[in-house]
């Protein structure tokens, strides 16, 4: 048998294996379940809304807040500085273009505690580091940051700091979300373009 024959036979065997693989999958979890479980049960993966409020107020550049709700919900209200990646888009493997930056803390949030925690497991399964959720979601944000008021007789220094953060976060949240839709939308789109576009090709 000549080289061509052998080579063709080898390629055909490999091609046959490939044809049988469920490759339409495109992507799957890359680490083993036993390795993932302790990662997703780590208490450090939670941020309280107050911690997130502090990030927002200080305009911390080492955090990236990711809103998993639909674009419509995002347009209605969103946390200042967050980017919108709807949960169903995230399943189409939008993660890579968002979470590539190793040292930045990525904080997921949704309205409640479901989508954000699914997303955390997915990101963990793909072996991304520095992933967190905002516990309680936007509902908890409203409950704590937007609607709480101080009731009591004396205020401690710590409580005072907490309330100041909340008040400032509330102000920023209200200012951003009171903007007309067109302006908010523009902000979202520029964010999106910056995070998309892969490098490559001959251009």
């Amino acid at each position: 048998m000549n080289t061509r024959g052998k080579f063709s036979a080898g390629l055909l065997c490999l091609g046959f294996i490939l044809a049988l693989l469920p490759l339409s999958a495109n992507w799957s979890f890359t680490i083993k379940p036993q390795k993932l479980l302790p990662k997703v049960l780590d208490d450090k993966t939670y941020f309280t809304v107050d911690q997130v409020a502090r990030f927002v107020v200080s305009e911390d550049t080492t955090v990236q807040i990711i809103d998993l709700r639909s674009p419509k919900e995002f347009r209605a209200v969103n946390i200042p500085g967050s980017i919108n990646v709807p949960y169903d888009k995230l399943l189409n493997n939008a993660l890579g273009s968002i979470l590539s930056n190793g040292n930045i803390k990525n904080i997921f949030y949704s309205n409640s505690d479901f989508d954000s925690n699914y997303a955390l497991v997915i990101a963990g399964g793909l072996n991304y580091k520095n992933i967190y959720v905002m516990k309680g979601g936007l509902n908890e944000w409203f409950n704590t940051v937007m609607n709480s008021s101080f009731s009591g007789e004396r205020i401690s220094a710590r409580e005072n700091a907490l309330f100041e953060t909340r008040t400032r976060a509330r102000k920023m949240f209200t200012e951003l979300n009171s903007l007309p839709d067109s302006l908010k939308l523009k902000f979202i789109e520029t964010k999106h373009i910056a995070s998309k576009k892969l490098d490559g090709g001959c251009e």
């Binding site: 080289t3 061509r4 080579f7 892969l198 490098d199 490559g200 090709g201 001959c202 251009e203």
Partner: protein, 164 residues
């Protein structure tokens, strides 16, 4: 070297490029960056004013400090190493004995003009669009490949005197 073996080697290099930096191979892009930097050096205001060149000079970018430019430098180095190993290093004009040297060089020049012009239009040459494109199953890769080889087969008849 056996063509199938050489092809496997080339495929491995392409796979390595995909694995390391998520991109394919390319040659015409590097040639373009050379031109862009030459134009930028000779006539900077023209380069910055033109809709085509200006995007390569935004934000103080340097067109020579680019993936594709470095890649074609590597191609030249790699070709040289291989030529040295196989003892093929020699200055010569390769041509059919039936045509003159001048004719060969004129056609080589024209071929270069056409090829790179077409590659700029199609956003990649045989390596950047056809080979790398096919390796990621892109439709653009297959269409470009068929267009290149199809048209070359048709034109082959007109230029047959140059070669056989």
């Amino acid at each position: 070297m056996n063509p199938y073996l050489a092809g496997t080697m080339l495929g491995m290099v392409l796979l390595l490029a995909m694995f390391l930096s998520g991109r394919g191979l390319g040659a015409s892009g590097g040639i373009k960056y050379c031109v862009v930097s030459i134009v930028g050096a000779v006539d900077r205001p023209h380069a910055e004013g033109s809709i085509y060149y200006s995007k390569y000079f935004e934000e103080g970018k340097k067109p020579l400090k680019n993936w594709l430019t470095l890649e074609i430098l590597g191609v030249i180095a790699g070709g040289f190493i291989s030529g040295a190993i196989s003892k093929r290093l020699k200055f010569k004009i390769e041509k059919s004995p039936k045509i003159s040297k001048t004719r060969r060089l004129i056609f080589a020049f024209l071929g270069g003009v056409f090829f790179v012009y077409g590659a700029q239009l199609a956003r990649g040459c045989t390596s950047g669009a056809a080979l790398s494109g096919m390796a990621v199953l892109s439709v653009a890769g297959f269409v470009t490949m068929i267009a290149i080889f199809g048209s070359a087969y048709i034109f082959a008849w007109f230029f047959r005197k140059n070669w056989i």
